[in-house]
């Protein structure tokens, strides 16, 4: 009998312990799911059940088409109101997974005679799927270590702000379901690899297909799994299990992914997908070589074989290079390329660079989104290295790659979060395994293995995996255990407070509705966006074209139901530049552009009165820059600065700036609001000019400004500013 640090009941049968543990696991998972869902409902409680931000409005609109007209109508949907007058073939240019998921849920509930509004399904989809994500992470981590680590990982990902930021109620975006699919596909891949099972490989392929249909980030899986396979081959860990798992996943996954119209033939014709194809080929070669080696014993032949494999591999690689060069294989698209060459986007695709979620990540964002997981993460990676089974390699590769990506783009923090949670859970669970184990080692007894696992130690709920304890010894005393355990509990509870705080303050604002706090602490809802959109919807002709900057395109389409020139789909740079040009030109030059595009209404967001910093004047330089990219002769960024190189809006503003349509529309009669006093722009803290006259013929072009005098937001601290900048810089 080994000595125990604290008493453990001995009269329990193993079956009872097993069943109780299983019940506890189920209950804990259920509670974690509940917590994951509940922590995403701040936005509904503080505001309302509404679709957030920009892209979700398009998804919501598409889902409504799907729900009301059926799948085939949706598939063939040509939207003439977007990108007026070009239109947009929606069915072929979206990842339909999200809409299809909501549609299926909607039809299912309808069939059960549960009349749930499609909007509520859309709003609550992301929280619902976060519960699934927690479960998938549990399954994944269970494969890495054991159930207790799995539960910790599930709890982490359930409440980690890094994932919540993209999955609060109402943020109806592709990422809402994609992270679940990502984790579940990874789990299935690990499972397939472990068992060498074609069945799991096929299920992984099916979920991969779902992922392809749901999110452009599927490319991460497309490259992550091949890299894992490649590293395994290089480490000499090739096995038939790997072969079966990879081939079944790749063949079925690729074929099915090509069924998504938006993806089409990309899996065989673009660089992003070539890695997977190359590894597929390499696996065949290696498998063939292994087969031959097992049948032929001649050493010379084996040498020859090795050379042949290398030669064929090299040949394949050069063929790929050649095909890329001749244009048969498309090179990396700008979005992916900018991940490697970080200066690329700013130079050549300012639209990508202008989006704030494509900005690099400073360390406070990491800490804010993941807090203590941030430093448990490297500890977990080290522990993975200690064991280094095949699946641990996956975590390691994932960790290194995604931490680079997350550093380059704020948005990719989302892909980092799962691996950080998994890795941190491994670290913390290993720590707890050691310190909750009641068995005390014998003092001064050198190099004697742990007593055989039998009796009460086995019954202890925290049975560490046999491998990890065999090389270690154990902890003496009870106080040492308590210190570490309490320290851990304290950190965990701090983590919970942190997550709640971050979620409720930074990530739960719908951005369609703004809240500001008055002096007395009462909350004011600033609903000017919807006021303008609803007015457009109710009181303009149905085919009245509305011009605005592309940020508002989806919202206008979704809420005002009117044609727009440009929207957040940003596929046509020239069209966006046209709008930029119209906004930054003088009225005489802008008017013909507006007429040519049948524009009847111009929507401008001006926040100078209430201090809303995300307004159009602050985005104006990007409009100028993008317009300059297409018409360098007519629009020049430097003309919008004062001679001293400052961006000013007051009397000192440059002439070009003062004459621009955007400027005039923003400040038109602004000074009148202040009576005789000096008008102050609260965003830029400058005196606004007087006597701005707008000469546009009012008959055709209406101007609406969001200029209701509300109290300026008092509580908009850094946290909030951070979340807003997430959208646009």
């Amino acid at each position: 009998m080994p000595s125990l640090a604290y008493p453990v009941p001995t009269d329990l049968s193993p079956a009872t312990v097993k069943n109780t543990a299983s019940l506890f696991r189920i209950v804990t998972l259920a509670l974690i799911s509940g917590a994951a869902i509940a922590s995403r409902l701040f936005s509904i409680i503080n505001f309302e059940s509404v679709i957030h931000e920009f892209d979700p409005w398009f998804n919501y609109r598409a889902t409504r088409v799907l729900a009301s007209k059926g799948f085939y109508e949706f598939w063939n949907w040509f939207d003439p109101t977007a990108w007026y007058p070009l239109g947009r073939v929606v069915g072929g240019t979206v990842y339909p997974g999200l809409m299809a998921t909501s549609g299926v849920i909607y039809y299912l509930l309808q069939a059960l005679n549960l009349p749930v509004d499609i909007r509520n399904i859309c709003v609550l989809l992301a929280p619902g799927f976060s519960a699934f994500t927690a479960w998938a992470t549990y399954m994944f981590t269970k494969e890495m270590k054991d159930e207790s680590a799995g539960l910790l990982a599930a709890a982490f990902i359930g409440i980690a702000p890094g994932y919540i930021s993209r999955s609060v109620a109402g943020s109806y975006d592709n990422e809402a379901i994609a992270i679940f699919l990502l984790m579940f596909t990874f789990y299935l891949w690990i499972k397939a690899l472990k068992l060498g099972s074609a069945l799991y490989g096929t299920i992984a392929a099916v979920f991969y297909f779902y992922m392809v249909a749901a999110w452009g980030g599927y490319v991460f899986i497309t490259n992550m799994i091949p890299v894992h396979a490649l590293v395994l081959i290089f480490m000499g860990r090739f096995s038939h299990r790997l072969y079966v798992a990879y081939c079944s996943w790749y063949a079925i996954g690729t074929l099915s992914s090509m069924q998504v119209p938006f993806v089409g033939f990309q899996p065989v014709s673009t660089s992003e997908h070539m890695g997977a194809l190359g590894v597929f080929g390499l696996l065949q070669l290696v498998a063939f070589a292994n087969l031959v080696r097992s049948h032929v014993s001649s050493q010379n032949f084996q040498k020859l074989l090795r050379i042949a494999v290398v030669a064929i591999g090299a040949l394949g690689a050069s063929a790929f290079v050649f095909l890329t060069y001749t244009g048969k294989i498309a090179p990396w698209t700008g979005r992916f390329y900018s991940l490697w060459d970080t200066g690329y986007a700013k130079k050549y695709i300012p639209i990508i660079a202008s989006v704030s979620e494509h900005q690099p990540t400073a360390w406070p964002s990491f800490f804010m989104d993941l807090q203590m997981l941030m430093f448990l993460f490297p500890a977990g990676v080290i522990l993975c290295f200690r064991e280094l089974r095949d699946e641990h390699l996956f975590v390691i590769i994932y960790a290194v790659l995604s931490s680079y990506f997350a550093g380059v783009m704020v948005r990719l923090m989302l892909t980092l979060t799962p691996v950080v949670c998994v890795s941190a859970a491994i670290a913390l669970s290993s720590l707890l395994d050691v310190y909750l184990n009641p068995v005390e080692p014998d003092e001064e007894q050198d190099a004697v293995a742990q007593p055989a696992k039998s009796g009460p130690a086995d019954a202890a709920p925290s049975t560490a995996s046999s491998k990890s304890t065999s090389s270690t010894r154990g902890i003496f005393g009870i106080d040492t255990r308590l210190v570490v355990v309490f320290n851990t509990l304290w950190m965990l509870s701090f983590f919970v407070f942190h997550c709640t705080y971050v979620t409720s303050t930074a990530y739960s604002s719908p951005s369609v509705v703004l809240a500001s706090q008055g002096q007395d602490g009462s909350q004011h809802i600033i609903d000017d966006f919807r006021e303008a959109y609803y007015w457009l919807r109710q009181n303009t002709e149905e085919d009245a074209v509305v011009m605005s900057w592309w940020d508002y395109g989806y919202q206008i389409a979704g809420m005002a139901d009117r044609p727009t020139l440009v929207d957040n789909n940003t596929w046509n740079n020239t069209h966006i530049a046209t709008v930029g040009k119209a906004m930054s030109s003088s009225e005489e030059n802008a008017y013909p552009i507006l007429r040519k595009h049948d524009v009847e209404y111009v929507l401008v967001i001006f926040g100078g009165l209430i201090g809303y910093s995300g307004d159009d004047i602050n985005k104006f330089l990007w409009m100028v820059r993008i317009a300059q990219g297409v018409w360098p002769d007519e629009i020049q960024e430097s003309n919008y600065f004062t001679p001293r190189g400052e961006y000013r809006v007051d009397e000192n503003a440059s002439k070009t700036m003062k004459e621009s349509l955007m400027y005039k529309m923003s400040y038109y009669r602004f000074a009148d609001l202040f009576g005789g006093n000096q008008a102050v722009d609260r965003v830029r803290n400058q005196h606004a000019p007087k006597n701005i006259e707008l000469g546009l013929p009012r008959r055709g072009v209406h101007v609406r400004k969001l200029d209701r005098p509300y109290l300026p937001s008092q509580e908009r601290g850094h946290a909030r500013a951070g979340s807003e900048e997430r959208e646009r810089l």
Binding site: E48, R669, D672
Partner: protein, 481 residues
């Protein structure tokens, strides 16, 4: 002050004397027609004797009329009538409560409510302009009988008239002046000794349209469509009412563009433009819960609700819960705004159960009055609990159409009976209750619970079976680590 905007109440007071006992001939001793200018409602009062008395309405007036009521002055009881349509006039034969003796006089109030009777003039106005409305009616109150004295009073809310028609060719009847204006009232008449006037001869010779052009300081509101769904739930002891309302400002259309700055200045100076509707006050039933107000794109946060407590059982109707409803944007002339308004109320506040017959009786209001507004089209759907039988209903006034259908909603299996009623041109006067009676058996009450329980049980059973059946082709091997 009752705000009667989109309707013009018009009261016609007729003093009728029967000239000959036992004959069907009458003489109107005095007719006073009062038109309360605003939107469109007309009151007409007549006095007569004998079995039936006939009131006439000109063709144009008849077209605008949405409600006709007749009573004896000073009595509440409505008199029944039948309508005959002739070439130029509609004749209403009103049945008197008791025959009028010879040479006796009775005062009959003949009331009709006209909707969509006014037109904004000028048709467009700038934000700071006044709102002028035009109302047109016939000069003479037509009657198949001769009339001793007749007057038409047109009352506006404010004593400002732009113009009114000077009648022509009326010297034969006029005593002092054909038309006079005093304060907020324009009076045509008194005209004396008018012969029976429903004949084509008279109409052609003397009848003429008179138009009043007056200022109106409230917005002219029209509810273009109102879809009310009332759902009765016994499980929740709840009656849910939901209105989908399309509101339209029928005042002069906005000329130029809206300036919020100016709108706010008007607010500060307490001189709101007459045709702008910034907010609307509605009286909802007392004791309501979970009131909601949203439109196509989400919740509208600019409303205030003060819930009045429910009156104790048996007491007279208590006061209303006051909802100050503010559209997303101020509603200017020619602008639309559609929204949804709904609330829950305890079922016991509007339902009664008769133990003897096992019948439930529920009262359902046809509409929530929006002061002065006319409801052009209404569709009222009353959804009864699943399994309700013996459905009957009593209407306060006939509907255009009424049908009983099935409505399938929350976890229903066979659906719920629903009554769908359609109305046109309703006003505040029509805000009355419909009484619905039905029976629900105990089995029907618990059916839903049983269904759900059975479904969940089957699900668990299937899950249990699936877990215990091994479907693999080869016997399962131990996991390979």
């Amino acid at each position: 002050m009752p705000m009667k905007w989109a309707s013009v109440p018009l009261a016609l007071l007729l003093s009728v004397t029967s000239a000959l006992c036992g004959s069907s001939s009458f003489e109107n001793t005095a007719i006073v027609r009062t038109v309360e200018l605003g939107g469109a409602v007309v009151h007409v009062t007549t006095t007569t004797a004998l079995k039936t008395y006939t009131v006439a309405l000109g063709k144009a007036d008849r077209e605008k009329t949405s409600l006709v009521e007749a009573k004896v002055k000073g009595q509440d009881k409505l008199l029944s009538y039948t309508e005959r349509v002739e070439k130029d006039v509609s004749l209403f034969d009103v049945t008197l409560p008791k025959p009028l003796a010879g040479n006796k006089t009775v005062n009959i109030v003949f009331e009709n409510i006209q909707t969509h009777a006014t037109t904004p003039w000028p048709e467009t106005a700038e934000q700071r302009d006044d709102q002028g409305l035009k109302y047109t009616t016939g000069l003479f109150v037509l009657s198949p009988y001769s009339t001793l004295v007749q007057r038409t009073k047109l009352k506006a809310l404010v004593p400002r008239f732009k113009s009114y028609t000077e009648p022509k060719n009326v010297d034969a009847f006029v005593g002092d002046a054909a038309v006079t204006k005093a304060g907020a009232t324009v009076v045509y008449g008194p005209y004396k000794d008018i012969p029976a006037s429903t004949n084509a001869n008279f109409i052609e010779k003397y009848q003429q349209p008179i138009t009043v052009h007056y200022y109106h300081e409230q917005p002219v509101l029209e509810v273009r469509t109102l879809k009310r769904a009332v759902e009765i739930s016994h499980w929740g002891a709840n009656i849910n009412t939901q209105d989908d309302i399309t509101l339209y400002n029928a005042g002069p259309k906005l000329k130029g563009h809206f300036s919020r700055l100016e709108h706010q200045m008007q607010g500060y100076m307490n001189k709101p433009a007459p045709h702008i509707l910034p907010a609307l006050n509605l009286g909802l039933p007392p004791g309501i819960r979970n009131a909601y107000y949203y439109d196509t794109i989400g919740n509208v946060s600019t409303s205030k609700l003060r819930v009045a407590p429910l009156a104790p059982k048996g007491a007279q109707r208590s006061q209303f819960s006051l909802l100050e409803l503010r559209p997303r944007y101020p509603l200017l002339g020619g602008w639309n705004y559609s929204f949804t308004l709904g609330w829950d109320a305890p079922l016991e506040s509007s339902a009664a159960y008769d133990k003897k017959t096992g019948t439930y009786t529920v009262s359902v209001p046809i509409l929530t009055p929006i002061p002065g507004a006319v409801v052009t089209d209404e569709e009222l759907q009353i959804i009864l609990p699943e399994g309700a039988t013996d459905v009957n209903y009593a209407l306060p006034f006939p509907a255009l159409s009424a049908e009983i259908g099935t409505h399938v909603t929350f976890l229903d299996t066979v659906g719920r009976p629903s009554i769908t009623l359609r109305y046109k041109n309703l006003t505040v006067k029509n805000a009355q209750d419909i009484y619905v009676t039905y029976k629900v058996s105990t089995l029907a009450h618990i059916k839903k619970g049983l269904n759900v329980a059975a479904a969940v049980f089957i699900l668990f059973a299937l899950g249990g079976i699936a877990r215990r059946v091994d479907l693999s082709i080869t016997p399962r091997k131990k996991k390979v680590q």
